[in-house]
């Protein structure tokens, strides 16, 4: 099992969700985060006081999939989250040691 973690632009969340549902991946966790990579921040000015804001709002989604579905998942995310502008985000894939469905007690692939 693999955990696919993607940092994406916030307005792309619904597109990514639709794309994943279309390939049969049901279930994700989304959180609001701040971050930066190559995308520059912006400057806010309040009565002459300037503040440079480096951290930009992003959405982090985590999707747990069986190892054989990783490729399709990553491709689906890329296709739906991409805008071509700097700041589109990144995808990381990590291994999952164990997964459990709380309601039923099913483990590993049955829990995904």
């Amino acid at each position: 099992m693999k955990m696919v973690i993607a940092i994406i632009k916030p307005f792309k969340l619904e597109d990514v969700r639709d794309a994943l549902v279309a390939i049969g991946v049901h279930g994700m966790t989304a959180s609001e985060v701040k971050g930066y990579g190559r995308q520059k921040g912006h400057t806010e000015i309040y009565r002459g006081a300037e503040y440079v804001v480096n951290f930009l709002p992003k959405i982090r989604i985590e999707v747990a999939v069986p190892s054989d579905r990783v490729g399709a998942t990553v491709e689906a995310i890329i296709a739906s989250a991409k805008t071509g502008q700097i700041g589109d985000g990144k995808i990381f894939v990590t291994a999952i040691d164990q997964a459990v469905r709380i309601r039923t007690g099913e483990t590993d692939v049955d829990a995904l």
Partner: protein, 442 residues
């Protein structure tokens, strides 16, 4: 009962006895006919001015501080409203408006004794005196609440309460007496319709002094101090702007044409101030900010306050323009140059605006509008050929500047001997909401 609580109970009983002894007058005061129209308007104006503090100023200020200090900032407005109201009723009104000594009022109206249903004040002969008391109370509260903006994010709540009480009695009351209560500035012919000196400049200077005495906020100049929620500040501005129509309109102390002239000049000054600041910021910074719009409006309101009932509507436009530009410059360029941390620009907007407006009153005052039973010819300003009025206004500005500045400093230092004025650095970092009040926005 313990000995201490027994003493306290006696003290409370004595105080209550005094308060209730001030009930319906048997004393024979000079009685003027109370006018229903004037009274109705003044009741409404009182409510409008009270609204300016709660929640007008509370919202205006809290929207501009960081999230961790929002509730604490509001607490200052609400608490000082409550505290200063009681002090005003007890002794503040009497010392401001009773008697006609040049420096201070008398205790004639201590705990409002002698005020009955038919009693009127010589200053407002067509409305019940108790209404005049309450109307003036709303001004006093607003002035004290204004100062809180200068020391936002770092003042200890207990110290602030002591300061509010002391400042009302030692700074506001004397100045109110000098300008409005028949004191020496009134005798000198100072024109201050609704409080350019008594309220705006007074609070502005006190704010500047307080900002210096308390020192800069931790992280000032380096950390991100972006406002928590400017939409709250905009709502606050709306309440202030609308309430200001009672602040100036009500200062005519009657439902008459002068009140309307005051309201017109007030509204035009606010509008012009807002646009002036907006355009200046657009030109110098590239974008017109919402904070700039509302700051300009308040600057215009502060400046037109002393002039409002004495000038023509178009004068209000000019005053708004000058105030918008002057205060914009003061809050951006001057503040950065001198380096003081007046958190919410009490001095830059109210201090500078009030001073400028007071002087401009001497320029624009119209004899016909400034006529009163005491001065039937009125007091013309520079434009009507009386250059001396500007000097009289300057005299008032200097007197208020000195008294407010020096007394505020002494008061803060005195309180500082008893308890720290600022919260600890750790508490300042954690935020006043949690550390001073045990509460947090969720």
């Amino acid at each position: 009962m313990t000995r201490d609580s027994g003493r306290m109970a006696c003290g409370i009983a004595a105080t209550l006895g005094l308060i209730f002894a001030a009930a319906p007058a048997l004393a024979q005061e000079a009685i003027s006919p109370i006018d229903g129209g004037d009274t109705a308007w003044m009741i409404a104006a009182t409510a409008l001015v009270l609204m300016m503090t709660i929640p007008g100023l509370a919202l205006f200020y809290c929207g501009m501080v960081r999230k961790k200090n929002v509730l604490a900032t509001m607490a200052q407005s609400v608490a000082c409203t409550a505290l200063c109201s009681l002090l005003w009723f007890a002794v503040g009104y009497s010392l401001s408006f009773a008697g006609d000594a040049p420096w201070l009022g008398t205790f004639e109206r201590l705990f409002l004794r002698g005020i009955g249903m038919e009693t009127t004040s010589a200053f407002a002969p067509t409305i019940p005196e108790l209404l005049y008391v309450t109307y003036q109370m709303a001004f006093a509260i607003f002035t004290v609440a204004l100062i809180a903006g200068a020391v936002a994010d770092r003042m200890r709540f207990s110290a602030f309460l002591w300061f509010a009480a002391g400042w009302l009695l030692f700074v506001y009351v004397p100045i109110a007496h000098w300008v409005w209560g028949g004191g020496f500035l009134a005798s000198a012919g100072v024109l201050d319709f609704a409080g350019g000196t008594v309220v705006q400049l007074n609070a502005g200077i006190a704010g500047l002094v307080a900002a210096y005495v308390l020192g800069k906020r931790h992280g000032y100049g380096t950390d991100n101090f972006a406002p928590h929620d400017l939409s709250l500040a905009v709502i606050g501005t709306g309440l202030l702007w609308v309430g200001w129509l009672g602040f100036t309109g009500g200062s005519a102390l009657g439902a008459n044409a002068r009140a309307v002239f005051a309201i017109a000049a007030t509204h035009l000054a606010a509008s012009t101030g807002a646009l002036t600041w907006m355009f200046l910021e657009w030109w110098t910074r590239g974008k017109p900010s919402v904070l700039g719009l509302i700051s300009g409006a308040i600057a215009g309101l502060a400046a037109v306050t002393p002039a409002s009932g004495f000038v023509l509507p178009w004068h209000g436009v000019v005053i708004g323009l000058i105030a918008g530009a002057l205060c914009f410059w003061a809050c951006t360029w001057v503040k950065r140059r001198i380096g003081y941390d007046d958190s919410l620009d009490v001095f830059g907007v109210h201090g500078i605006g009030g001073a400028a407006g007071t002087l401009l009153t001497g320029v624009f005052a119209v004899a016909v509008l400034s006529a009163s039973p005491d001065a039937p010819e009125g007091s013309p300003g520079l434009f009507e050929g009386n250059a001396r009025q500007v000097l009289i206004q300057l005299y008032a500005v200097i007197a208020v500047l000195i008294w407010s500045g020096v007394l505020t400093y002494i008061l803060l230092k005195a309180i500082g001997f008893l308890l720290p004025l600022r919260v600890s650095e750790q508490h300042e970092i954690e935020g006043l909401d949690l550390t001073q009040h045990g509460e947090a926005l969720q």
